[in-house]
């Protein structure tokens, strides 16, 4: 594979171009489809293959910024972005992020903060993944069932009545001032609820040291009650802003390898367009199912990383990277496969209708 190696002048290392494009493509598909940045995949992947951690983070953030521009544009075209909610999310999350990072600094004085963070990370990923899987099996709509609110639904009880979901219960709190989000189809909700939710997601981002896309997307669906596609698009707005800020600040600190970021962006931009387009064809519950499987696997990766920290056995660290990249690759294959299959189905359907006429 040496013929594909190129020298990266800023990082001072050689790297495989094909690998860079492949990593970029996978993370692009996932980013456009799930509304996440994908830093939790790219950073460890680059690090495993020879990047210094600081360069891996900086280069990854630059790539996230570039790939998200196209994805946001596409989601905007599909009517999947609630800008008002997205901007509130950015402003509030910053406050939560600061609180989260302050807690980390306080815990650092007490002992090994890394261990605590990884345990919390695992609990969050598995907890969220299990909840979403449960929600999928409990509330999966039957064929031709048009329901707009995923997070607002919970399974019917024995008497056949629908129990109100978390978002419905939160919407009932009438603590003024009330705001509406027409782009998300939300007529009235207390602004305090919205601020508290984003404060919490921001706190988790700061505490776990992650971009936050994978926390914001489910929060928008299950706590605020957005349709999944709108949650994906709106989450990408937050990812775009954090990516832009991260790109600039890491480049100022000299931690961005521009050649690597540009090469990765070739794969990522194509992937992001494919991922965003797939949202048109795959229904909300399908997106949530794949998302839940993905974060459960990500939880396994964190668990393996934890095992490495405890045993110092290098095999665990390599395995953690393999699980992460394997998850990213398999999810990308599934999303593309589903996109192609559904697009074909739609084309066949429309050609039959044309023939009929």
């Amino acid at each position: 594979m040496d013929i594909f190696n190129i020298y990266l002048p800023v990082a001072g290392i050689e790297f495989n171009v094909v690998l860079l494009i492949l990593i970029g493509f996978c993370v692009g598909v996932l980013g456009g489809f799930f509304g996440v940045g994908g830093g939790w995949i790219v950073t460890p992947a680059l690090n495993i293959f020879g990047f210094h951690m600081a360069f891996a983070i900086g280069t990854d953030l630059s790539n996230i910024f570039g790939q998200t521009i196209g994805a946001v544009k596409k989601h905007q075209k599909m009517g999947n972005i609630d800008w008002k909610l997205g901007l509130i999310s950015i402003a509030t999350s910053i406050v939560g992020l600061e609180i989260g990072s302050d807690v980390i600094i306080a815990l650092e004085k007490a002992g090994d903060v890394g261990m605590i963070v990884r345990w919390c990370y695992m609990l969050l990923l598995w907890g969220l993944g299990s909840y979403m899987l449960h929600d999928y099996f409990a509330t999966r709509p039957k064929e031709d069932d048009d329901i707009d609110r995923a997070g607002a639904r919970t399974p019917a009880n024995k008497s056949g009545q629908q129990k109100p979901g978390i978002s419905e219960r939160l919407h009932r709190i009438t603590l003024s001032p009330m705001v509406s989000f027409p782009a998300s189809g939300i007529d009235e909700v207390s602004i305090w609820i919205i601020l508290l939710i984003f404060l919490f997601t921001g706190f988790l981002s700061g505490f776990l040291g992650v971009g936050g896309g994978f926390i914001i997307m489910p929060a928008l669906v299950y706590l605020i009650g957005l349709p999944t596609a709108v949650a994906v698009g709106t989450s990408l707005v937050t990812v775009l802003f954090s990516g832009a800020y991260g790109c600039l600040t890491y480049a100022l600190k000299g931690r961005v390898e521009i050649i690597a970021a540009m090469i990765m962006l070739i794969g990522a931009s194509i992937g992001a367009q494919v991922g965003s387009t797939a949202v048109k064809y795959i229904k909300g519950y399908g997106i949530r199912l794949l998302f839940s499987v993905m974060i459960i696997f990500a939880g396994f990766s964190v668990a393996t990383e934890q095992a490495y920290k405890i045993t110092q056995n290098q095999t665990f660290q390599t395995f953690a990277g393999v699980v992460l990249m394997g998850t990213a690759l398999s999810m990308s294959v599934i999303i593309i496969g589903k996109l192609v299959a559904d697009a074909r189905k739609e084309r066949d359907k429309s050609s039959i209708i044309k023939k009929h006429h």
Partner: protein, 104 residues
């Protein structure tokens, strides 16, 4: 797509990715990486560089603000351009998007 096919694809991908760590890392790469691990050098080595690599390394060494501005602008412009081109290709393949109804 059934659950069975999802898990088969996942298993195959994980097997495929298992091979990735065996991508050979060149000796120079490993040494450079090790050196970076111990002390992150803030200056890029411009020896033996030419063309675009030399330009980037010099800019990185001499003007960090300009380098950061260039990185941000290049990512924005390249991201927009590639998205535009990919969009055209997808349209040609019949994968055009328009406003969608939000069905769960």
């Amino acid at each position: 797509m059934s659950f069975r096919s999802i898990f088969v694809i996942s298993a195959l991908s994980i097997m495929l990715v298992s091979a990735l760590p065996f991508f050979e890392r060149s000796e120079g790469n490993a040494i450079a990486s090790e050196k970076q691990e111990t002390a992150l050098t803030m200056k890029a080595d411009t020896n033996h560089l030419s063309g675009i690599n030399l330009f980037i390394a010099r800019l990185y060494n001499e003007d960090r603000v300009l380098y950061a501005t260039m990185v941000t602008l290049v990512m924005a412009v390249l991201g927009t351009f590639l998205a535009f081109v990919t969009d055209l290709i997808l349209k040609a393949l019949g994968l055009e998007v328009s406003r969608i109804s939000h069905r769960e």
